[in-house]
């Protein structure tokens, strides 16, 4: 789990672990079964090129990569990712679009794959959040 004040490097490390977390979430992969997409995800200044095939992340490589294309990008501040991954994120830090509304994240490019699979992306990007530990 990340803390809100952890540096970018730790955020990047957590991000790099998302593909293997997704591999252990078959229901989530099934929801993305129709999705093949190149996107740019991660911290604002150091995002990753992410290749998704049939709902699985088959490649996650730090940007920049020479002349690689992407359809959409969702990038957020390091603080935003650390907050988003808390067991019970604070109000306003608990949703990808809450983060764009508070200007802690930017959404760019062709949004069609993101919007057709919005819950998928919310859940994939929440995978580092500890499960079953939400304080009542």
């Amino acid at each position: 789990m990340s803390s809100p004040d952890e540096p970018d490097a730790d955020i990047a490390g957590t991000f790099a672990g998302i593909p293997s977390l997704l591999d252990r979430a078959p229901a989530l992969i099934a929801r993305g079964r129709m999705l093949d997409c190149e996107c740019l995800l991660g911290p604002l200044d150091h995002p990753f090129h992410v290749s998704i095939r049939e709902g699985r992340i088959v490649d996650l490589t730090p940007a920049p990569v020479l002349m690689r294309s992407w359809r959409f990008s969702y990038r957020a501040t390091a603080v935003a990712w650390a907050e988003y991954w808390q067991p019970a994120p604070r109000p306003g830090w608990h949703d990808l679009l809450a983060l764009t509304k508070r200007k802690q994240a930017t959404l760019e490019g062709d949004l069609h794959p993101f919007m057709t699979h919005l819950q998928y992306f919310k859940d994939v990007l929440a995978l580092p959040r500890p499960r079953g530990q939400v304080p009542a």
Partner: protein, 292 residues
């Protein structure tokens, strides 16, 4: 009969709205002060099922939840031929007044959530004397938009999936999974373009900024309650709205989002119970006053 049967019953009432009869579905339970509950945009009256079944409040209130036309079990009117559905302030106001009139409800309480909360403010502005009390959940005179509503109704995006996925973020992380799923299910079942059409009222037609200072809470008490996780209508939106209304009561509800009555009924009850008890108390005082 061995199964558990819930106490509310559902019926249809024929209501004239804009010169045309509409067949409106409603559920009710209890006896006493009429309490009419308004669902959020793109959903239906099922959101209120826990309050409808409340053993304590059904003793003092006739709790009623109806589905707006185009929602739940209230079909579009016979004249509808597939044109784009758009809810307006005038039509929504007329619908609430016509429904209360069709059931001949004597000075009801109206509690609405989200678009229902916004219309409650309009009722307070223009029709306060017709109501005993007004309760706005997730209510404000205006909110800043946070997505483009054209995504809600287009042939190449599944409407049910995208509507539910958009509003899922408005539910508090602490809300029980089963209640979260039930809340989202209604969004997955909504008719094409209905959520978007409701938001026409919310985003375009129903901006009440500059009008709320006309609300007189001495004529009709106004209670505003907003969940801390609602980033669509934020607690600050509600506070800003209330700052213009002398005597409005504001409560920020912890561990709740945009759908308090359905996303976490138990937590919501902690906040709505004192409001309902207050209304019971005030009604008793008024009644005594009438006898003097």
């Amino acid at each position: 009969m061995t199964g558990h049967v819930e106490p509310m019953v559902g019926r249809y009432v024929h209501v004239e709205i804009s010169g045309e009869m509409h067949r409106i579905y409603f559920e009710e339970n209890g006896q006493g002060i009429p309490l009419v509950c308004l669902h959020t945009a793109g959903s239906d009256g099922r959101q209120w099922r826990h309050l409808l079944a409340d053993a304590e409040f059904s003793k003092a209130f006739r709790i009623i939840a109806f589905d707006l036309p185009w929602h739940g079990k209230s079909n579009p009117p016979a004249s509808w031929g597939g044109e784009e559905y758009r809810l307006t302030t005038a039509r929504y106001t007329e619908t609430v007044l016509a429904f209360c009139g069709a059931l001949a409800l004597p000075k009801p309480v109206v509690m609405g959530c989200s678009i229902g909360g916004r219309i409650v403010l309009n009722l307070a502005i223009d029709h306060a004397a017709e109501f005993r009390a007004l309760i706005g959940l997730e209510a404000a005179d205006f909110q800043a938009p946070w997505y483009d509503t054209s995504w809600l109704n287009r042939p190449d995006v599944h409407g049910g999936e995208v509507c539910a996925a958009l509003v899922s973020g408005l539910i508090a992380p602490q809300s029980p999974e089963v209640s979260r799923n039930e809340t989202l299910w209604a969004y997955k079942q909504g008719g094409p373009g209905v959520f978007k059409g409701d938001l026409y009222f919310y985003r375009v037609d129903g901006d009440l900024r500059g009008r709320t200072d006309r609300i007189d809470t001495k004529v009709c008490p106004l209670y505003l309650l907003t969940g801390e996780y609602d980033f669509s209508c934020t607690p600050d939106d509600t506070r800003r709205t209330a700052a213009e209304i002398s005597g409005a009561s504001v409560t920020v509800m912890e561990q709740l989002g945009h759908f308090p009555m359905s996303e976490n009924p138990e937590q919501f009850r902690r906040y709505i119970a004192p409001v309902l008890r207050d209304i019971i108390k005030q009604s008793a005082h008024t009644k005594q006053g009438e006898h003097v």
